[in-house]
Amino acid sequence: MPPKPTELIQGTLDLLILKTVAQGPLHGYGIAQKILVMSKEILQVQQGSLYPALHRLERKGFVKSEWKPSGNGPMAKLYSLTPAGRKQLQEEKRQWQRYTGAIDMILGED
């Protein structure tokens, strides 16, 4: 039996969203799927919690949204990264790497 998916650490959802929409416009469901696939099904986001995060990122100007026909289906709201969002992604990525690097240094101290 595969291990249960891991809950996200508080505050990492924004970073993951920015990363997933960096490669092209996605709707909420697409973002959830992509996070699952890219993390080899280890990370599971509570799907509904994407929306407050997306709307917050949009208000801050890091993502923009557009209604477009999605594939074969009806119109979907597609989110994509803005230039400000790209900068924010770099910044948050750097912070995350610093943070995990520091934790690793402590944990690796045997």
Binding site: H27, Y29, S49, P52, H55, R59, W67, M75, A76
Partner: protein, 137 residues
Amino acid sequence: MTFPWNRAESQLSREIAHHLQQLTDEYLRQGYTREEAARQARKDFGGAEQFKEECRDERRFAWLTGLRQDIVFGLRMMRRTPVVTAAAILSLALGIGANTAIVSLTLAILLVAAVAAVSIPALRASGLEPSETLRQE
């Protein structure tokens, strides 16, 4: 029919309905019954109403943030060009002052004259003599 003031609301509903539909479709593909698929989708999604409310909070907050930014920006621009700001404030002050003065004066003259013009004949018609003050006005 969508009114501009609830466009955001209906878009939010559509957005979330779309997500639930895709989750449901995925479960249908996996062979779940229609009811079971819808139930699983709702479970995966979590409390839709709660998330919607959080999205609405973002919108309300956005308005406030925008207002704050505008005010701060306005004040900063005013501080950067003190001469223009002073000129603008002075013209406003003079404009308002002059207006108030003229309107007060006009009202005093016209209104008193009008009162006298209407009331003196009216008083005489009813057999009364207007007072000295009223006749002088």
